[in-house]
Structures are given as structure tokens and as C-alpha cells.
């Protein structure tokens, strides 16, 4: 049964939604779909294999360059171990591939309490956030 992780909750099966999704394949240029972002119910970025990292850059571009604010869903070969990086690149919904443990996936999302880089979920890099704690 397909399992969706969205806004920190497990939907299995995903609740039905009205409206059509805009699907972006890894070879596609986000600029080419930019004018359709406003009318899409959600955007799905497809991962044919989880080791195909193009979708990570696509997500950042959709969020950071083209200002997309709606649901951004990772679909395809989406295992739990990638959720943390995906979330940092701007995905807020994950259609897990078959057989993935949804609770484990939720836990993986919270695996790291800090990160060095600027990312969609935390635009300021660590070096702009380091406070008194790092003066040790």
C-alpha cells in the first residue's frame, strides 16, 4: 500500500486530493515549468533511482529561485534514508517506495539536529547562526 509522509504525519494510503499534480522529471529544466507552478495542486519531482541526485537541485531551484510555496513531493525510488537530505532541499512530502517502514522514515527525518550549509529548510548557514556556544 502506498505510504505518504506529509507534514510530519503518515498517510497510508494517502488521502485523496483534488487537482492535478505537475510532475518534473530529472532531465527537465525547472525554468521551463516555472509559469505553471501557480496553477498546480502540487509539484512532484520524480526520482527514477534514489542515487540520481538531479532532483535535489531541481527542488532547490523550484523553492529558492522560482518561489514555489506549495506541496513539493518526492516520488519514485524514495527510500527512508534519503528523507533528511530531501527535506533540506525543500521537499515537504514523500511518497515512499513500496516496503519502506513509515515510522522509520519519520525518525530518519529527525536524525540530525544541525547542518553546516544553507538549505531550503534553514536558509542561514551554520556560520551565520553560530552563537556563544561555539566560543569554547
Amino acid at each position: 500500500m502506498p505510504t505518504l509522509i506529509r507534514r510530519g504525519a503518515i498517510e497510508s494510503p494517502p488521502s485523496p486530493e483534488p487537482g492535478a499534480a505537475l510532475r518534473v522529471e530529472p532531465h527537465e529544466d525547472p525554468a521551463a515549468v516555472a509559469d505553471r507552478l501557480g496553477s498546480a495542486a502540487r509539484v512532484e519531482v520524480h526520482f527514477p533511482k534514489f542515487t540520481d541526485g538531479r532532483g535535489y537541485s531541481i527542488a532547490r531551484l523550484l523553492r529558492e529561485r522560482f518561489g514555489y510555496r506549495g506541496e513539493l513531493r518526492a516520488v519514485g525510488d524514495v527510500p527512508r534514508d534519503q528523507l533528511h537530505y530531501l527535506a533540506r532541499c525543500g521537499f515537504d512530502a514523500f511518497l515512499l517506495r513500496d516496503g519502506e517502514d513509515a515510522k522509520g522514515a519519520l525518525a530518519a527525518l529527525a536524525g540530525f539536529s544541525e547542518a553546516y550549509q544553507s538549505s531550503v529548510d534553514r536558509p542561514l548557514p551554520l556560520f551565520r547562526r553560530r552563537g556563544a556556544s561555539s566560543s569554547a
Partner: protein, 557 residues
Amino acid sequence: MYRYDDIDQRIVDERVAQFREQTRRHLAGQLPDDDFKPLRLQNGLYLQRYAPMLRVAIPYGILSARQLRMLAHIARAYDRGYGHFSTRQNLQFNWPRLEDVPDILEHLASVQMHAIQTSGNCIRNITADHLAGVARDEIVDSFVWCEILRQWSALHPEFAFLPRKFKMAVNGARTDRAATFLHDIGLHALRARDGEIGFRVIVGGGMGRTPIVGQVIREFLHWPHLLTYVEAVLRVYNRHGRRDNPYKARIKILVKARGIEALRDEVEAEWLHLKDGPSTLTEVEVRRVAGRFTRPAYEMLQDIELPQDGPFGAWRRRNVHPHKRAGYAALTLSLKKTGVPPGDVTGAQMDAVADLAERYSFGELRVTHEQNLVFADVRQDRLEALWRELRALGLATPNIGLLTNIIACPGGDFCSLANAKSIPVAEAIQRLFDDLDYLHDIGELDLNISGCMNSCGHHHVGHIGILGVDKNGEEWYQVTIGGSQSPAALGRVIGPSFAQHEVPWVVERLIEVYLAGRDSDAERFVDTVRRIGIEPFQEHVYAHAHSPRRHRESAVA
């Protein structure tokens, strides 16, 4: 060296916890091989010919005595008592058990070390010139910039699944000792006329199957833009690098396909959006990182005259390097004693070296891409005492820069990728050239051996390069001459390849041509090759093709 703060430590600890859980799932049958593989690779773990291999990051090659003792402990407790220093300034353990790896990583984390991104299609350990901070021609301390890049690249969410691995090097001095033209991105520090610091950015260099010297994509990148510019390069590569064929997936192939001008335009267009954004570096951050480095408490000393003659003199001439502080010297501990695989160190040697580093060099040491160790801050008046102690440990071979300081990958004895063995070839050459006077007469010569096209032994840039090739299941060796690391140049193949036992004989013939043809003692082997071309070398080697020592090979390389 850089000391972690509590956040740096937490990130590494959380990574260990993550991998412990992933390993547990794998061993419990919940995480299949294909899914586990990219995860373990990004934690430094290969499954090799006979056992797993764990590659530990030594960021930009610097180690403390305490860290080295931990590596010695790991070698004894989890391995067969030794480790192997690689040409990427990392340390490899060849025999750990998969189920022990999370514990090993936890031990590493306890001394501020990790194995993050030492393998896999991601940004790898960043290498630097090994004389950073002490070289007389220094422009910036490259270690500070490497640490800034280490933090930026560690667990970078966007670039964990690039088309292929991505290697970066930073050189902080006038002389390029970091092979910046042979990396995916090379950064060579520059001081502009107005005194501002920046970097020349070189892209698309590399060895491997398709060796290419990199090209300058930006002549001068002002330092605050370092991360945003590099991020622009990585994003263009991540989106447009080839993913259909792993042999065509490095950024050098993209540079070739697009042309440097078009790629530059693409990167600049991407950079326009990132430039001056939140990742723009600040003076506060650069000062903070620099301030977390330990610094030697130098004394006010004068340079002294050191003996020129005898065994100490020979070692001093080859293994001791000038230092920017009067009265101090940097020196290389050779890991290239004949009979020992290049780069291999036992746990006992690691402990002993850690003690020496504490007593002689402020408790720190460095790993070079030539697979040796460096003590960077030794008082000149204590060099002779240190030399005696190193000699007792077998670490004072006076061969730095000489033919027997061979760079070699682990080769077919260990590595599942290799076509041929490298260690026995290195040893046979070292045995043939065991006369020190003869070696010194030959002078500077880089001899590099790789067991396969992946060229971990950097054979392309050896003055003499030896490459293991497979022909119908047999091990053969192709010989190149005229390569060099700085200035970056790739060697040329002299002709059909040789059987393993012929290789030392071929090296001997090449040396004969050089000794007969050099215009003075000051002309190095590689300079002679450049001046007279490779033909005289080819003629001499292949003219002896019917000598009883050479067994003709029917196939052509």
C-alpha cells in the same frame, strides 16, 4: 589543527548513530545490498576482494598525536595491526569486519575524526599542500580554507548523489604542491595587486581512465565568494553531468563536451543567483575557523649550520625542507623503505611516531599525497637526535624525491578494482635501485604505480608511470614517461606493455638513456624527456626486446 566545537562534534556523532542504525538494518536483512551500498560508501566502507576496506578521512592531511594513537588502536583491535596511507591523504584499514565499523567510527568520533564522504559519488576529502602554514612561499594558510570547505561539503544535502565522485584541492602557496590542475576543482590562492586574497579556480582536471589537465574557469575569485561559486559549479555539474556511463561522468567530461567558455558562462549565470547570498563568507567566520586551529608556540631561534656529510647529511638533504621560521625545519618521514608496501604503517610505528610528534613537533603531523608523513615544526638543533630515533624505527630512508619514493596504490593484492599488483612491482624496483649513491646520482624522479585505470597511484603524473593492465586475464604493465605533477603534465606511453618481472629492467633501461643524455647533473629525468623527446627512450628499451630477460609479448598494448 582545527579543534571541533560542540556543534562539529554533534554532527559527527549523529552521523555515526545514523550509520549504526543503517548497518543494523542491513545485517538484519532489512536493507538490501544495493540500497546499503551508497550509504556505506559515503561512510568510507568498501566491500573489497578479501574483506571490507574502511577509508578514514584525514582532512587535508593533518593529524594530532592523539588521533594517530587512536588509529594505532583501531589497527590493532579491528584490523591486522596496520594501516595504509593513500594518495588522497586518507588512511585505509583493509581488514575490518562490517559489524565492527559503527564502533570504529565511534572511536574515530571520540578524537574528532570521521570517514564521511571518503567514497561514493559525492564531494570527497579535500586535500591541501602538505607544507601549509610553514612554507616560505605561502600566500594563505590553505588549512583554514580547507576546513571551511570541509564544513560546507560535509553532509551537503544537494550534492550527495552527484554523477560521480568529486575531488577538490586547495593550494595556499606560490608553488603548487597540491596538484590543483588534476582535481575536479582546484583552488590556488592568489594575492591580487590591491592585496586582496582570492583563488584561481581550475576545473575538470583528473587522472583515472581519461586523464585531463584542468582548465582555469575563473582567474580570480575573491575569497568571500568561495562557497557560492563552488556551489554554482557543483549545481551545474549535478544537473548536467552525464549519468548514463560512469566512465564519462566526471566533471572533466562535461568540461570537454561543453568547452570551458560555455561552461564558464553557465556557471556564471548560476552564480549570479547565489552570489552575495547567505553562503557568502564573512571575515568573522574566517577568523573564527582560523582561531580554532592550534598554533605552534615557536621560540625565537636562529638558523644553524647542519652537517652535509655522512648518513645524516644525506637524509637532511633529501628529507628536510625549509621553514618560514628561523631555526625550524619541516621534514618528511619516509614510508617507502624497501620491502614495506608504500604507505603502510604498523600500529607500533604509529604509536612511536605519535610520541616523536609530541616530543619534536608540537604534537602534530601531516600525511602527504606521496604517502609519507611530515613533521612540520622541528627545531633545527634537534634534527639529528630525531633522525637517530626515526632510523631506529625504519622511517628515515633518505629517498624523498628519489626513484625509490614510489607512489603505489594497494593494487591487486587488496583492491577488487585492480587489474594487476602494484606492491611487488614497487618492491622489485626498490631492490634493483638499492644503491644510495646511484639513487642520488639519478636525482629527482617521481615513479608512480597504479594497479588499474582508476590511477590511485597517480601514474599519469609520474616522471615514470607504471600502469597495470589486464590482457586475457594476465597482468601486464604499461609504461609512461614525462608526466609531472607541477606543472601538471601527463606522461606518454612508450609502447607495448611488459610482464611484471620485466618492469624493473625497463626502468633500468630508461635510466640509462637519461644518464647518457642529460646535459648536466642538474637536469632531472623529466627535463631530459622533455628536451630530447620519448623516442630515444623507446628505441633503447625496445631495441633490447630480444634480450634473454625480455619475453616477447605478442599482443600490442
